[in-house]
């Protein structure tokens, strides 16, 4: 089970003599996409120092408290700090799902480009949790909010004071805030695809499980969780008829693939929101075509053009057709390439 690291002309290669050294299935750090040397060694557990300043303060405040009971009391104290939220914000769109109590969260992007939160709840405990998140995530950039991993919740040391459903509700609160951040960014960047994707059910986090379960279950595709979303359908017809489309990258893809492959079926699903961590990178780099939402897609093509070609050849063909898109910010494609005969099986 030795790990050998060799240096070959600057190439570092890791091998293992016995594959029994494989660890238990990894939690998927998909959100922590790193970009070469710019962010080194990022795949370790998120440290307190990685958190945005406002959240760091809160974590610090809770970590200083010696015992769970006192932490719990501190949480209830936070509830009193929560500013009241106007009536008109108490709408279903702002409501956290899967929470025993009613909780609403509303983001606002101000002129400084930072996000500020309002929240409300009908129970003191969840009000405290909401207040915690409001304080911790207000005054942050969208990118900062999107790169926080939910593990920070553990750092607060509240887990044993809360029932499983409360813990779950807290997580859902945080997730909704991340989704709403993405929506805000998409809206301000005039891109519909991220908003549509954000409207999808809480399947965003099922992809890591699907990816790791895939090898053993060998049934679900890595992107199966997203298959049900109708994201492109309601938007596309109207959008492409308008003079400026809100999904230029996707439109370009559709056009090129249709022209070249004359497919009998072509499905393009925007899965960018499932990679919200990567999206944070897009947010940090404005100006790329297609706006923040158009980075990851699932593409299914059924075409006679694939007849007689290996999967590699088929996918290479698709990649070559979309070379420009890759230069414009397209990051990854999950591809299914079939001939009509194969598709009808």
């Amino acid at each position: 089970m030795a790990m050998i690291s060799q240096r070959q002309c600057g190439l570092r290669v890791a091998s293992s003599l016995s594959s029994r050294s494989s660890p238990a299935v990894m939690p998927c750090p998909m959100r922590r996409q790193s970009l070469g040397r710019a962010m080194t060694g990022v795949c370790r557990a998120q440290k307190v120092s990685d958190l945005p300043a406002s959240l760091k303060k809160i974590v610090g405040a809770f970590q200083m408290v010696p015992d769970p009971m006192a932490r719990y009391k501190q949480l209830l104290f936070y509830a009193t700090k929560l500013a009241p939220m106007p009536d008109e914000d108490h709408i279903p769109a702002n409501k956290v799902e899967g929470c025993v109590s009613q909780v609403w969260v509303v983001p606002e992007m101000r002129a400084d480009g930072l996000i500020y939160w309002r929240a409300d709840s009908d129970s003191q405990l969840t009000k405290g949790l909401a207040a915690l998140l409001v304080t911790g995530l207000s005054g942050c950039t969208p990118a900062e909010i999107l790169t926080v991993q939910p593990e920070f919740i553990e750092m607060l040391g509240l887990k044993q004071s809360l029932t499983p459903s409360r813990n779950n509700g807290f997580l859902n609160m945080f997730r909704l805030m991340q989704r709403k951040t993405l929506e805000l960014v998409a809206a301000s960047g005039a891109s519909a695809s991220a908003a549509a994707a954000a409207a999808a059910p809480a399947g965003g986090e099922s992809v890591p499980q699907a990816a790791t379960a895939a090898a053993t279950a060998a049934t679900s595709s890595t992107n199966g969780a997203h298959a049900s979303t109708p994201a492109p359908a309601p938007e596309a017809p109207a959008a492409s008829a308008a003079s400026t489309s809100r999904t230029p990258l996707q439109d370009g893809m559709r056009r090129k693939l249709t022209e070249a492959l004359k497919p009998s079926t072509l499905t393009i699903i925007d899965e960018s929101a499932q990679h919200a961590g990567h999206a944070a990178m897009m947010v940090a780099k404005p100006g790329k075509a297609g706006g923040p939402g158009e980075t990851h897609f699932k593409v299914e093509v059924v075409s006679e053009a694939f007849e007689g070609l290996t999967q590699v050849k088929r996918q290479r063909m698709v990649y070559q057709l979309l070379a420009d898109e890759f230069n414009m910010g397209l990051h990854a494609l999950a591809l299914v390439t079939r001939t009509p005969a194969e598709a009808s099986k």
Binding site: G10, S15, C28, R44
Partner: protein
């Protein structure tokens, strides 16, 4: 791609039955697609080499050209480009991966 680098990639691929150019390492994959490939190979119980393309921009961009493939992971079996995550998944499910690995390991 610099000739020296190309040479070492050529050698690496020629002298190892299975090579995965991926994001992260097999202990810490840094992308869902790379992770899936690692898990598949672990289940197949075959020895394999990995190269973390995130560590080196030259390798990251170079491999896209070398393989004529714009994404990672990239899997090489027996010296030939086999595919990315989707292809690995499908081959695993169909049994083709097992076949190809057996051929490779016995040749």
């Amino acid at each position: 791609m610099a000739p020296d680098l190309k040479k070492s990639i050529d050698e690496l691929i020629a002298s190892n039955k299975v090579v995965v150019f991926m994001k992260g390492t097999r202990q810490f994959p840094m992308c869902g697609f790379s992770n899936t490939v690692v898990q598949i190979l672990n289940v197949m119980d075959v020895p394999y080499q990995t190269v973390n393309i995130l560590e080196d921009d030259a390798i990251r961009s170079g491999m896209k050209e070398y393989s004529q493939w714009p994404t990672f992971p990239q899997v090489y079996i027996n010296g030939d480009f086999f595919g990315g995550c989707d292809i690995m998944m499908e081959a695993y499910q169909s049994g083709e991966l097992k076949e190809q690995l057996e051929i490779a390991l016995n040749s």
